[in-house]
Amino acid sequence: MVSLFGKTNINFIDFRRKGFIISLALLVVGIISVATQSGLNYGLDFTGGSFVEVHFNEDVDIGSIRSVISDVGLGDAVIQRVKEADYNYMIRTRLTEYEGKSMGTVLNKVLNEKFSDNGVRIEREEMVGPVISRALQAKAIWVVLLGMVIILIYVSVRFTYRFGIASVIALFHDVLITIGILSLARAEFSSATIAALLTIIGYSINDSIVLSDRVKDNLKKERGKRSFSEIINASVNQNLARTVNTSLTTLFVLLALYLLGGRMIRDFALALLIGVIIGTYSSIVIVAGLVVEWERRLPVYSHKAGGR
């Protein structure tokens, strides 16, 4: 029997204060990152506009692309080299069309004229009109709210009061820190990110449920024998193998997807990856820590059990 966590007894509860500070620091870093970049790096879904990825057979420099497209009034376009693909450039504009033609058509024409014999080809084109981008913005807000409401209902049915509150705080913690780190990594915030965040919410609650179940069991068994914080710590330790194994296996596959899955899925995999790590950490440190902290200030368990 291989057992990494057979009889662990790591004192997570004593670590809680440091944990809170780490979380707070991560949150602050995230906020600073978002603030200094004047907001999130919203994807086309939310901003509207056009996005064209152009392929060249031989490398060209961004300056010459810019000078060509300036002639058709697109001087303020954002041009970026695609790292993973040889000689692909992403050109993003606020306009959705130019003289009634799509950006891809316009760029294909002008770039082919200037860089003939360079195999200019449109690899990908996206256009999101203002109607759609506004609708997606509204939808994104609604879907996050709806997700939250469903989780709150679920939590209120399934959890004890304090665990419920702590899990919801942990959930906000996970989502906000994930957004912060994504902002630091300059990942795009798109519809797919919203999907990743909702998935993270599901996972975060899932971890808290497993812990809360274990604590309930242990409280029944050990009421009066051990202090509240000891029981919580023992529960976290008993769950450790499960928590770590599950997260590790999920991380294996997500990491493989992030590193090898190609650039189209990278940001999505990154969001999930961060979310799973933070979610695991928060169920151990934040949820358990908050419940213990609360009990210390306003004891409920200890009264019933006749003091510690």
């Binding site: 799509s102 999101v128 998935t199 596959v253 493989a256 090898l260 899955g261 899925i265």
Partner: protein, 518 residues
């Protein structure tokens, strides 16, 4: 106990069999090379493609366009919904022109139309086809005498052409190669390429009178047979859609009170012309032509002076009549449209994504399998078996339900692997604890599953709830993610709980097995 297990094994075997059968289409589909495609019959390839797992546009490349009715330019008295339905009918009418295998055209919301064109797409041409203003014309079908003469002329030329081309026994060539392709005005789908070749010959073009043209209907289907109708009409239209005010489907014709009909109303200024045309052509057919494609060719029964005409449609159902009415209305007043969303993925990028994400998924899965085998040994192997089965059932269900696998969907499969492992880990950790607490192997298994079940259920329910929310939020790729996640979780209960339990029960029920490697 034994018989009980037997039944459970039967269930698993049946599920495996059905899934294998379902997935065999996908495997065959992906193993068809372009060279093989040429030699295989088209209906065989189509059948396989239909039942195989569908890949999203982000994986196979293609174009996704959303257009909507421009409400600002919408004439008064027409609802956005009606205008949208007209536009939809027009685009469906042009569907052949896209030149892709499986174009999908669907309504979206109140006033939108989604068009999905998989594969290699000429973007400009596609946009032109969608945006072109509809042209509805009424054209006189040639008189029977002229028809016969024209067909004979064409047959004579084509016969000579075939004689010249033939490198085989020339007596096999029919005297009327052109007419022999036509049966009751129909041409079978598989004969269309030959027919088009004949009609494109310069010699053939020269014998067709200049004021005459040959038109086809949309591709129709009857008793599994696909065909087009052929019409030989006067090139000059007698009337255009502008003359129309309205067209509505109604029920009841003089001969049959339950048959559908279409009522046409002409503008007052067109009435006289219509009366003249109908008066001069009693018993002749007038073809209704939208964008060069013949929709119907009703026979004129009497002179119509009021501008209110009735088209009887013998043999047609209400759907056909509704479509015709819609096309007539669409031709009368084309709906103003605007493109509001467009996403195109090049086929190179699409196949690159499939290859990379697929490779990443397989590598990640192998890592997980190795980890589980080392960490939980014998039981780890059972869990691994469950993980593989889970992916297997998931893919089978996806293709069986006709769902689309998108790039985020592949990420969904990756997450499901995690979920599947999680369920087993929860169970095994519980079993280990029960064993440490001194229970017998079989009692520990029973207790482990029992106690872990509630936790697994809860843990999966939250993810499932989020997936359902996502399904309603997402479009295309994200919906694919939500679908994979939901189906995967449901499969997980079957594989990670039911099947692993069955295997463990079977192993421990054998005489001599006292311990399990966990």
């Amino acid at each position: 106990m034994r018989t009980n297990l037997g039944w459970k094994f039967m269930i698993v075997l049946v599920a495996l069999g059905i899934s294998l059968w379902q997935l065999s289409y996908t495997i065959r589909n992906f193993s068809i090379t372009p060279e093989m495609r040429k030699t295989l019959s088209e209906s065989y390839v189509k059948k396989i493609e239909k039942k195989a797992l569908k890949l999203g546009l982000d994986l196979r490349g293609g174009m996704h366009i959303v257009i909507s009715v421009d409400r600002d330019k919408l004439p008064e008295g027409i609802s956005a919904r009606d205008a949208r339905d007209r536009a939809l009918e027009i685009i469906r009418n042009r569907i052949d022109q896209f030149g892709v295998a499986e174009p999908e055209i669907a309504r979206q919301g109140e006033d939108g139309i989604v068009i999905q064109l998989p594969g290699v797409v000429d973007r400009e041409r596609a946009k032109e086809i969608i945006g072109k203003t509809a042209l509805l014309e009424f054209k006189l079908v040639e008189s029977p005498d002229n028809l016969e003469r024209i067909v004979k002329d064409i047959d004579r030329i084509v016969y000579e052409y075939e004689l010249k081309q033939a490198d085989y026994d020339t007596t096999l060539i029919p005297q009327n190669p052109f007419l022999s392709l036509v049966y009751r005005g129909r041409i079978a789908e598989y004969d269309l390429p030959i027919l088009e070749k004949y009609l494109s010959l310069e010699e053939v073009k020269s014998v067709i009178p200049r004021d005459v043209e040959i038109l086809f209907s949309k591709l129709k289907e009857e008793d599994g047979m696909k065909y087009k109708l052929i019409y030989i009409v006067k090139r000059q239209s007698v009337l255009t859609g502008e003359a129309l005010v309205d067209a509505r489907m109604q029920i009841g014709t003089p001969k049959n009170p339950t048959a559908p009909r279409v009522d046409l109303t002409m503008k007052p200024e067109a009435r006289r012309k219509w009366a003249m045309i109908t008066g001069a052509n009693i018993d002749r057919q007038i073809a209704i032509v939208l964008d060069g494609i013949a929709q119907s060719a009703p026979r004129v029964v009497e002179r119509i002076a009021t501008g209110n005409s009735m088209i009887e449609m013998p043999g047609a159902d209400t759907k056909d009549a509704q479509d015709l009415a819609l096309i007539l209305r669409a031709g009368a007043l084309p709906a103003p449209l605007e493109t509001i969303e467009e996403r195109t993925v090049g086929p190179t990028l699409g196949s690159d994504s499939v290859r990379k994400a697929g490779k990443a998924m397989i590598l990640g899965t192998i890592l997980v399998l190795i980890f589980m085998a080392i960490y939980y040994r014998g039981c780890g192997l059972i869990a691994n078996f469950a993980v593989i089965l889970n992916i297997f059932f998931l893919l089978a269900l996806l293709s069986g339900l006709g769902a689309t696998l998108t790039l985020p969907g592949i990420a969904g499969i990756v997450l499901i692997i995690g979920t599947s492992v999680d369920a087993n880990v929860l169970i095994y950790e519980r079993i280990r604890e029960e064993l440490l607490a001194g229970k017998t192997t079989r009692a520990a298994i029973g207790a482990g599953y029992g106690r872990a079940f509630r936790t697994i259920l809860d843990a999966n329910v939250t993810t499932l709830l989020m997936a359902i929310v996502l399904y309603y939020f997402g479009t295309g790729p994200i919906r694919g993610f939500a679908v994979v996640l939901s189906i995967g979780i449901l499969c997980n209960f079957f594989t990670a709980i039911f099947i692993t339990r069955l295997l463990l029960d079977y192993i421990t029920s054998r005489p001599g097995v006292k311990r399990i490697a966990i």
